[in-house]
Amino acid sequence: MNIIDVVSVRKVFSGLVALDGVSFQLNRNEVLGLIGPNGAGKTTLFNIIAGFMKPTSGKVIFEGKEITGKPSNRICRMGIARTFQIPRPFGDMTVLENIRVAREFSHHDRSGASSIDTQTILGMTGLADRMNVEAKKLTVSEKKRLEVARALATSPKVLLLDEIAAGLTPKEGEWAVNLMKKLPEMFGISVIWVEHVMRLLMRGVQRVIVLDHGVKIAEGKPEEIVNDERVQQAYLGKKAEGQV
């Protein structure tokens, strides 16, 4: 059963079409990869699902209820959490205080929301020995993990992860792949994962959708996507005429 339905979402920025009728579903307990070249509309799509932007037309349905255009803090409290591509920590607060903000303000609209305890979150994101450090003093990698830790502290049903592995070392990247295994199995969280590091993404997801210039050009299992001609064209450019 699907937890999120995106129905022909279109977004136009003063003449520029960022998203042109994109539709897809996210299944319960699924990790869905969302890929596409720069400017394909991935972050815009996240902004629309998370309530940071209103679509020009189209709908976003979460657990059977339309959430299009609802304020983002409300959408968070309903159970959709996001991370930011460029980390936005509360710099003067410690890691624990950052997590506390997420915990304090996200639990009103759901009774009996299963919350993940702080120790587990710190363990999963490898921030346990940094919990009393001010967020501005963290490394880039740690700031990215803090984004994830805060989002998890809102006890989400759906997590929107925006490039959490970009700029990380291969070893740090493995952490992201492992996380994608844990989230649905252990906590019943469904995930949409935007990532440029294909090597990691393809191992962490069950299904992939590909955006190019605001249009969904492919959808399928990771191995199908890798071999899809249109996807290769979008990433590498068209083959010249007559070439084999």
Binding site: N73, D92, M93, V101, S106, R150, A151
Partner: protein
């Protein structure tokens, strides 16, 4: 543990005793000081109330309220009209003034707080100007003539105590907000509003609420000030100099701190008072110099500097302890 390390240090006797002594001195002051000094203290307490209520919103949210004086002026007019038109008792009139100011603040916050940064500051500045022009031409509030508070209400000792209570209540409210869930929301909003909102913080609610509380205390202080000054008219009630003075005081002491506005108001009002007696308007130049020096040398104000010194001291003593252990 989570409350910004504030509560623990507040329980220390070294922190509490100076406060108790200050409070006792201020409570007993009218009994032994000269009328001139009492009047000085009255206005000092007014500036503390105003700086503290300005700090409550701008210091905690980071939104610079350049139209702050409008809440002072509306509180002053609210008090005056309740007293003269509705014949309410003076203390009730003061509270009505504060409430009108708060309601006005929450009403304007809904459109104004959609703006951020410089746009919010300019919108509030324009608002204060617009309200000035309206009051200056509005017969209902006696337009440019304004009002004089009748002599039967004049009671300097009562006025002094009213202002003392307002200054204490405003400071207490900053303390309570800092250590509450609202304080946590505001800290998050100040540091990164988008992130706060993405984690479920209803930023509009907390910003409007805080602006309302700030305006309530500014309105109370405005009402009490007019009670003491006995004259109200639009140019003095909506004078942008009030906003600028309050910004300077809060900035000098330290935005978002509990004691900063008290210290800033203490220093700047003393400077203004003593210079004003001999060299009128010279204090404005001095204010300007102090603001430039503050921005350049200690952008977090006096409290920021003392906090850094304390941190350094703590680190040094930690190191010494480590060495001793070794």
């Amino acid at each position: 543990m989570f409350n910004g390390g504030m509560k623990k240090s507040m329980m220390k006797p070294s922190f509490i005793i100076p406060w108790i002594i200050t409070a006792l001195l201020l409570i007993l002051a009218p009994g032994f000081v000269s009328p001139a000094l009492r009047s000085f203290l009255f206005f000092l307490l007014m500036w503390i109330s105003l700086s503290q209520s300005f700090n409550l919103f701008t210091g905690l949210t980071g939104y610079v309220n350049f139209g702050f004086v409008v809440f002072y002026g509306i509180g002053g007019y609210g008090m005056t009209l309740s007293l003269l038109r509705l014949n309410l008792p003076i203390y009730l009139a003061l509270i009505v003034g504060g409430l009108i100011s708060a309601v006005f603040a929450i009403a304007v916050s809904l459109p104004a707080l959609r703006l951020r940064g410089a746009y919010f500051a300019i919108a509030m500045l324009s608002l204060a100007q617009a309200v000035f022009v309206i009051f200056d031409n509005w017969n209902f509030v006696n337009s440019a003539t304004g009002y004089t508070i009748p002599v039967q209400y004049y009671d300097p000792v009562q006025q002094y105590y009213a202002m003392l209570v307002i200054a204490a209540a405003t400071t207490l409210s900053v303390f309570l907000v800092l250590n509450s869930k609202i304080g946590l929301a505001l800290r998050a909003i100040k540091q990164n509003e988008e992130a706060a909102v993405s984690l479920g913080v209803n930023s509009t609610l907390y910003k409007s609420l805080t602006l309302g509380i700030s305006a309530f205390f500014a309105g109370l202080a405005g009402g009490a000030a007019i009670w003491g000054i006995t004259i109200i008219d639009p140019p003095s009630a909506f004078d942008t100099t009030v906003t600028l003075t309050v910004i300077s005081m809060t900035m000098l002491g330290g935005f978002g701190t509990l004691l900063g506005p008290v210290i800033g108001a203490g220093i700047l009002y003393s400077v203004e008072y003593y210079l004003g007696l001999t060299y009128p308007y010279l204090h404005l130049i001095i204010f300007g110099a102090i603001i430039i020096a503050t921005v350049l040398a200690m952008p977090q104000g006096i409290m920021g500097v003392s906090r850094n010194l304390m941190k350094r001291e703590a680190k040094r003593s930690e190191k010494i302890e480590l060495k001793v252990k070794e």
